[in-house]
Symmetry: C2
Subunit: 482 residues, 2 copies
C-alpha cells in the first residue's frame, strides 16, 4: 500500500479536508452524496481512521458536509454562491404596452422539444414527483365517486374536498383561509388570469417585479394591459421605497408579484418588507395579486410568509398550484381572491362554468393523508442539492465574469453574462447542440436582460447535465472572446 | 262485461282512435309509452280485436303512434306543436354595451338549488347519462397511463387520443377536421371564450341571434364587448337577408351563432341558409364562431350540417363539447378555430397552459368504442319524448294565448306568454313553490323577452314534473287575469 502524499504533512487532516473540499466545489462530490466511509479512505489513502475523521469534522465546521447518525458523512449544498450576485438594474421606464408573445412563442416551443436537454422548463423531474402514490389514490376511487364527479357541472368554486384540504394546509401561512374564500382553478396561471381580469382591464397598468416570469407578460399582452417594471434585488426582491415611489408616480391599477422565490430571480421579500408593501398598496388602493407557486419549495428551516397571511384588508388575491410540487398534469390550482371573490367567481363561471374535479380530488387526498408534507421534505432537499450542483457547474465552466443568483428556494438560477454577450446568440448555438434554456430577453418588455439567462434546476443532476453545462460554458466563453 | 259506449257507434274504430288521441294529447299516454295490447283493450272495452287494431292503424296514420315489431303500439312524440309558434320580433336596436351579469347571477344561482324542480338547468337527467360506462373506462386506465397523464403539462392542443377520436367522429359533418386543427378545452364555454378573444377585443361589436343563450351575453360583458341582436325565426333561425343588412349597417367584428337547435329557440338554419350566411360573412370579412353543442341531439333522421362543414375559407371557429350528451363533469370540449388556430392556441397556452387530460381520455375511448353512437340514439329518443310531454303539459295547463316553439332537436322549449305578463313575476312566485326556470329577460340586452321563458326538457318526465308544469300554468293563469 502506497502512502498518500498528504500523509507526510503536518496537518494531515486539514490537507485531506482541503482536497475533499476541492472535489465538492468542482462538482466531483455532489450535494446530497455520501462521502467514502472512514474505513474505505483508510485503506485507500493509508491515513489513520482518526485523521480522516478529523478531516470530516473539519469539513463539517466549514459547512461543506453533514454527519447523519449511523449513515456517515454527506455533502451539503452550497452555503454561499460560488460567483457574485447579478447587478440590480437601476433604470426605470414608463409603462409599456406589452408585445412579447411572438418572441416568447419561438423560444417556449424549443423548451418543449423532448430531444433537448431542457434547462428552460420550469418543472421538477418526473422521478421527483409522487406519481405512483397519486395514481394509487386515483385507482382507489369508487365507481360511485367517479359517476358523481362526472354527472354534474361541479360547484364553480371547485371540489369541496380540495378546498377543505387547502384551508387546513394554508392555515400556517395564508391567514385564516376559509373553505368559502377559496376558488379552485385549472393550474396557477388560470388563477392569475382570473385575478388580473377581476382587478384590471385593457389599457390599465400592472406593476411587476423585473426580471419577470414571461407568462405574466404574455398574459398581460393578451389582456391589452400595460406593464411597469420595478427591478428587484436578487436577494430581497423589490424595495418598499422604490415600490412607494412607483405607485406615487404612476397610475398603477394592480400589482402582480411573486414574493417568495421569485421567478426567475429566486428572491424573497422579507416579512417586514411584505408588511411595508402591503401597507403602501392598501394606501394607494392598489390590489396585489400574489403568485406563491414556489412558496413550498424553501431550502431554509421555515416557509416564508405570504402577503395573504399578513393582509387584513382583503386587498390580496393569492394564487398557487401543485404543478411544481406534485404533478403538473393534475391541473390543481387555486386562488383566495379576498374582497374580489365575487368578481373572480363570476369570471370563472362565465368562462368555463366549472373545473374538472378528478385531479383535484386526488390532490386533496394526497394532502389530507399527510403524504404531501413528507413528499415536500424530500423534494426540497433534492432541489436544493440540484441548485447547488448547477451553481458549481456554472462556476466551473462559465467565464469568470459571470454572475449568478443564490436562491433560498424555488428552482431557478438567474445568470448574468458579460454585458457584451447576447444570450440569444448562446440560445441559437446551444439549440443546435440540443440544449435549451430561457434567454433573459423574454423576462422584460425592455432589452435590459439581453445578456442574462434562466436555468431551471428541476432536472435530477447527472453527468449528462454536467456535460451540457460545460458545453453551454464553452459556447459562452467563445462568445466572450469575440 | 259491460259494453263500452262507443262500441255502439258506426265507426267504432274511429271513435276509439279519437278517444286514445285525446289521452295522448292530454298527456295521459306519454310519448315513448306502450299502448295497451289488443287483448287487454278487448277484455276491457268489449270491442273486437279487429276494431281495436283498426283504431291503432288509424292512429298510426295520424302520426300519433308507431307499431314496433312484436312489441305492440307505442305513442309517438308530437309531429306538430299543440300551440302556435312564438312571434318573431321585428325591432332591431343599435349595438349595446352588455350589462346582464347581476341579474343573471341571481337567477342562475336559483337554477342550481337542488331542492328546486329545475326547469332552468340546461342538462340532461343523470339517469340519461352513460355514467356507469364512463366510470368503467376510467377504472380500466392503468397506473402507467395515469402517471403519464399527471407527470407533464399536456400538449396545449389537448390529449392526442381525444383529438384523434374527434377528427374521426366529425368527419361526416364538420369537413375534413384534422387532428392538428383541433384544440381541446375545458367545456364548450371555454372554447367560445378563447375564440371570442381570438377574433375581437373590448369595444368590438359581436352579432348574436336573439333570444340568445345568457352565458354568451355574460361572457361578452366580461370581455367589454358590445352586442347587436338579430331576432331569429323560431323555426329557421336568422334570415340571411337580415344578416346581410346587419353586417352592412354596423361594424360587426364577429358573429357568435348557434345554428343547430339554437339555445333557447331550438331553431335550425337550413343548409342553403348556412351557405348564404357563410358567403355574406366571408364577404364582409367577419368570422363566425359556431357553437354546435346541441348538434348531436337531433330528433329527425339526419344530423344537421354545420358552418364548419360547409366552410372553405377558414373563417369559422367551431366549438362544441360532450357536456350535454355524455357528462358535464368530464369538461370535454373542443374547438376547430380555422385560420385563427394560432391565436386560439396562444390564448389557451397563456391563460392555462394545458387541459387536464383524464376526463378527455375517458371521452375519447367512449367514442372510439362505438358506445357514443349507440348512446346518442337512445338519448335523442328520450329527449324527443320529453320535449313532447312538456309541450303537451304546457298546452294543457297554460293560458290559451300561450305560444310555444316546436324544436327538432336540443332540449329547450321557448314559451311566449301574453305580453301583459312579466315572466319575472312568474319566476318569483314559482320560486316560492320550489320551481325554477329561465326567464326570457336574461336572453337579451333589451327587455324584448320579458314575457317569455325557457323550459329545459332534460329531466326525465314524471308525474311530479307534470304537476309542476300544472302549478306553473296556474301561476301564469292567475297573472293573466290581473
Amino acid at each position: 500500500m502506497q502512502t498518500h502524499p498528504i500523509a507526510q504533512g503536518n496537518f494531515r487532516y486539514a490537507a485531506l479536508a482541503d482536497e475533499i473540499q476541492d472535489k465538492i466545489l468542482s462538482g466531483q462530490y455532489r450535494a446530497g452524496e455520501k462521502l467514502p466511509s472512514l474505513r474505505k479512505l483508510h485503506s485507500r489513502l493509508g491515513l489513520s481512521i482518526s485523521t480522516i475523521h478529523q478531516a470530516y469534522i473539519e469539513l463539517e465546521k466549514r459547512g461543506r458536509v453533514e454527519a447523519r447518525q449511523k449513515s456517515g458523512f454527506f455533502v451539503k449544498p452550497l452555503e454561499k454562491s460560488p460567483l457574485p450576485l447579478p447587478v440590480k438594474p437601476v433604470t426605470s421606464e414608463p409603462p409599456i404596452r406589452v408585445r412579447i408573445n411572438d418572441l416568447a412563442e419561438t423560444i417556449v416551443s424549443d423548451l418543449q422539444r423532448p430531444d433537448m436537454i431542457r434547462f428552460g422548463a420550469a418543472v421538477a423531474d418526473q422521478e421527483l414527483m409522487p406519481l405512483k402514490q397519486l395514481s394509487r389514490i386515483a385507482k382507489s376511487m369508487s365507481v360511485d365517486e367517479i359517476c358523481a364527479g362526472m354527472a354534474l357541472y361541479d360547484d364553480c368554486a371547485g371540489a369541496m374536498e380540495l378546498r377543505y384540504a387547502l384551508a387546513k394546509m394554508m392555515m400556517g401561512y395564508a391567514g385564516s383561509a376559509a373553505v368559502d374564500e377559496i376558488i379552485t382553478t385549472n393550474g396557477c396561471l388560470e388563477a392569475v388570469n382570473l385575478c388580473l381580469r377581476a382587478v384590471a382591464g385593457p389599457g390599465d397598468v400592472i406593476l411587476v417585479e423585473s426580471p419577470v416570469f414571461h407568462c405574466f407578460l404574455q398574459l398581460i399582452e393578451d389582456l391589452g394591459m400595460y406593464v411597469i417594471e420595478l427591478p428587484g434585488c436578487p436577494e430581497k426582491g423589490m424595495s418598499p421605497d422604490a415600490f412607494e415611489s412607483m405607485l406615487s408616480n404612476n397610475r398603477v391599477k394592480a400589482c402582480l408579484l411573486n414574493p417568495n422565490f421569485q421567478n426567475p430571480l429566486g428572491s424573497v421579500i422579507s416579512t417586514p418588507g411584505k408588511k411595508a408593501v402591503l401597507e403602501i398598496a392598501h394606501r394607494h388602493g392598489t390590489p396585489i395579486i400574489e403568485d406563491d407557486i414556489y412558496g413550498d419549495i424553501f431550502f431554509g428551516p421555515r416557509r416564508p410568509t405570504t402577503f395573504k397571511g399578513l393582509d387584513t384588508t382583503g386587498n390580496v388575491l393569492y394564487c398557487s398550484s401543485f404543478s411544481k410540487t406534485i404533478a403538473p398534469g393534475l391541473r390543481a390550482g387555486w386562488t383566495l381572491p379576498g374582497r374580489f371573490y365575487k368578481r373572480v367567481m363570476r369570471l370563472k363561471l362565465n368562462s368555463q362554468l366549472a373545473s374538472p374535479s378528478t385531479g383535484h380530488i386526488v390532490a386533496a387526498r394526497f394532502i389530507e393523508s399527510g403524504a404531501y408534507e413528507r413528499h415536500l421534505r424530500r423534494l426540497r432537499n433534492q432541489i436544493k442539492n440540484q441548485v447547488s450542483a448547477m451553481s458549481i457547474a456554472v462556476a466551473a465552466h462559465f467565464p469568470k465574469d459571470t454572475r449568478i443568483t443564490f436562491p433560498q428556494g424555488g428552482m431557478f438560477l438567474w445568470i448574468e453574462l458579460n454585458k457584451a454577450i447576447d444570450a440569444m446568440d448562446v440560445f441559437h448555438t446551444a439549440r443546435q447542440k440540443g440544449i435549451s434554456f430561457m434567454p433573459g430577453i423574454i423576462c422584460s418588455t425592455t432589452d435590459r436582460y439581453r445578456h442574462c439567462l434562466r436555468l431551471s434546476c428541476g432536472l435530477s443532476w447527472s453527468d449528462r447535465l454536467e456535460k451540457s453545462i460545460a458545453q453551454l460554458g464553452r459556447i459562452v466563453c467563445a462568445l466572450n472572446k469575440e
